[in-house]
């Protein structure tokens, strides 16, 4: 990844111990710098290049979807006994990635971690786009999504069918759709004052109207802010249990089943930790190139990158503990099938997957103990990508190795993704990246009004600097 290699001369904000905002900034300079990214006619050439690649991958998704709908879900790999393949692996992977956005915007807000301010906006956008990518899988795995509503959504349909509320799959529908809605609300509420800022700053008559409509007449009144702050805090408070609950419910999809390797009480906390781990890895993967291309080093400083690295290390250790406990309980349970499952995971036909997962998720994050390594941007970028791969492997291992050899040897089988599985997967990466690139061009990727509150008080007047 040459794009993230350390530059020849280091930006002062790339040094360890950098502040949350570079010194010397005023209300005006913060506003001008962030809104300038949106209100300029010019985008950096890396933006065009990145969007082109992402858009190309998105076309792969279009092909994959058309092919799937035309020929049916038989083009995907899942079959008896492995009824869940890439579709669930990727669903869990994407949903997990989304978690960091809500964690940054809600939990870190409640904990008064002011460094969250410059990364929360695009982390929330990342959440939304990741949830969109995740939703693709269960919806299209139904084969005919336009008739899937009978059993997904509780409404009095002409078939007289109602969903079964005792099924974890319907819990998932509720959890994920609530998560998507609340994340979108949180993101939009955060945007309102910034849309008003863009409305006030743009000279373009059409953009003034577009941003004016979107800002809904926000006029920075103290009375507005008063209700706004209250609503924003409450949304953060409501999102906090939501972050914990979504991946818990996702883990119920597995842990309420009887399949060896799934039926474990450790699943909910270990899934949530894994989600935050994967999410921070993705935030770093996106933040490192974006801050460079848009010259936002003043706002996304080494302090942010290092803090995210520390969160990644902590959650990585929790995930490592989860793997250890999985193995321990398989042995301690004395259950033949659980013991075989673990043995088969480590030394069966998918052993490479298992050990690659341990290498990516347990061994690699330990490099972050070293301050020298975690403050090296290139190394951090590589580690976060390795973690993303590792988290994908984790879901692959959990889903495929548990299903392919269950209780009866007569029902054993083998699974690997087909070319259409892969094209749909790479296609969703294209969708995700396309949405990210479009987002950073059209909307402020850093929350402007929250950054203003980080300007030191003596600089909160016009001619302070």
């Amino acid at each position: 990844m040459s794009s993230a290699a350390p530059p020849a001369e280091r930006h002062p904000m790339d040094q360890p111990g950098a502040p949350v905002v570079a010194p010397g900034h005023t209300l005006e300079s913060v506003t001008a710098k962030i809104s300038g990214v949106v209100l300029t006619k010019y985008a950096p050439k890396q933006w065009f290049l990145g969007l082109a690649v992402a858009f190309l991958l998105l076309q792969l998704m279009a092909l994959a979807v058309v092919n799937l709908l035309f020929r049916g879900i038989g083009v995907w790999g899942p079959n008896v006994p492995i009824g869940w393949g890439f579709d669930i692996i990727n669903f869990v992977w994407w949903i997990g990635i989304g978690h960091a956005g809500t964690l940054i915007s809600a939990i870190l807000l409640l904990l008064r971690q002011d460094w969250r301010t410059s990364i929360n906006r695009f982390a929330e956008a990342m959440t939304l786009f990741a949830v969109a990518c995740a939703a693709f899988y269960p919806i299209f795995h139904t084969g005919r999504p336009w008739v899937a509503f009978y059993w997904l959504m509780p409404y009095p349909n002409s078939m007289g069918l109602w969903p079964n509320f005792r099924s974890p799959l319907i819990w998932d529908v509720f959890a994920v759709s609530t998560y998507a809605t609340v994340s979108a609300l949180f993101w939009f509420v955060g945007l309102i004052p910034d849309l008003a800022t863009l409305r006030d700053r743009t000279q373009h008559p059409i953009l003034q109207r577009v941003f004016g409509l979107a800002a809904m007449g926000w006029r920075n009144s103290v009375r507005h802010w008063h209700n706004y702050e209250s609503a924003y805090l409450l949304l953060a408070g409501l999102s906090t249990p939501l972050v914990v609950s979504v991946h818990t419910v996702v883990s119920f999809d597995f842990s309420t089943g009887l399949i060896p390797g799934w039926h474990a009480t450790i699943f909910p906390p270990y899934f949530v930790a894994g989600a935050i781990y994967a999410g921070f890895a993705m935030v770093l993967t996106l933040a490192i190139p974006l801050r460079r291309w848009y010259h936002l080093e003043d706002f996304i400083t080494m302090r942010h990158l290092e803090n995210m690295a520390k969160v990644m290390l902590a959650t990585g250790l929790v995930v490592g503990y989860g793997y250890l406990m999985e193995a321990f309980f398989a042995w301690y349970s004395g259950n033949t099938y659980e013991r075989f499952m673990m043995y088969n995971r480590m030394f069966g036909p998918y052993w490479q997957m298992y050990w690659a997962l341990i290498l990516c998720n347990v061994v690699t994050p330990n490099l972050l103990w070293s301050k020298r390594l975690r403050t090296n941007i290139g190394v951090l970028f590589v580690i976060s990508n390795v973690v993303s791969v590792g988290m994908w492997l984790e879901r692959y291992v959990i889903i495929v190795t548990s299903l392919h050899r269950d209780f009866l040897p007569s029902s054993w089988g083998f699974y690997s993704g087909t070319i259409f599985d892969w094209s749909a997967f790479i296609g969703t990466i294209g969708l995700f990246l396309t949405l990210i690139f479009v987002f950073v061009r059209l909307l402020p990727a850093i929350s402007i009004f929250e950054m203003r509150t980080l300007v030191p008080p003596q600089a909160r007047k016009e001619n302070a600097a």
């Binding site: 109602w162 079964n164 319907i170 920075n220 103290v222 802010w225 419910v249 007047k461």
Partner: protein, 178 residues
């Protein structure tokens, strides 16, 4: 008392001076007052003695409605509308209903936070006289404003203007047309 005027708006460049000014406006007895700041300025809200926001009550109400609706949906569906006998287990299997109930509680509460905030703020609002002031665009960058509206019982075009001009740190006082 001119009715063709929305009010008088005073502009400030300093985040601290505007607070002192707002205190003075409040103690002078003006009630139809609004202040503008480019970020949530707690001291300024405090200086104007704004009442406690009602958003939290709406959120509690929304959450309770969501909880009742979610549990009611699970209960009515599983017990009356579409009963499924699974191994003779009770139809009213409440532990399984907790998850959808939990989610709808959060969903309704979050929706009422957003809708409630917009409603209490009177948004969306397509027109407001404050935008007539040319400098007002800077309320979203680095300027602070205090506006005394002409509907205030103590409002007098000349008196109020003189009062505002005498406030500390005031940069400019502008008439806001309707």
């Amino acid at each position: 008392m001119s009715s063709d005027m929305h009010g008088l708006m005073a502009e400030f460049a300093d985040a601290r001076e505007v607070v002192v000014a707002a205190e003075r406006v409040h103690h002078h007895g003006y009630t139809k007052v609004d202040a503008y700041a480019p970020y949530p300025h707690e001291e300024l809200a405090h200086a104007l003695h704004l009442p406690k926001s009602h958003v939290s009550k709406l959120v509690l109400l929304g959450g309770l409605i969501g909880m009742a609706a979610g549990y009611g949906l699970c209960y009515v569906t599983s017990v009356f509308v579409y009963p499924l006998n699974i191994g003779g287990r009770p139809l009213h299997s409440w532990p399984a209903f907790i998850v959808p109930t939990y989610e709808t509680t959060i969903l309704f509460a979050a929706l009422s936070a957003v809708v409630g905030m917009l409603m209490l703020n009177g948004l969306p609002q397509p027109y407001h006289p404050a935008f007539h002031v040319p400098e007002f665009v800077r309320a979203s960058t680095d300027r602070f404003f205090i506006c005394i509206e002409s509907e205030d019982p103590h409002f007098d075009a000349h008196e109020t203007r003189r009062f505002l001009e005498g406030l500390p740190g005031v940069a400019k006082v502008t008439e806001v047309p309707r």
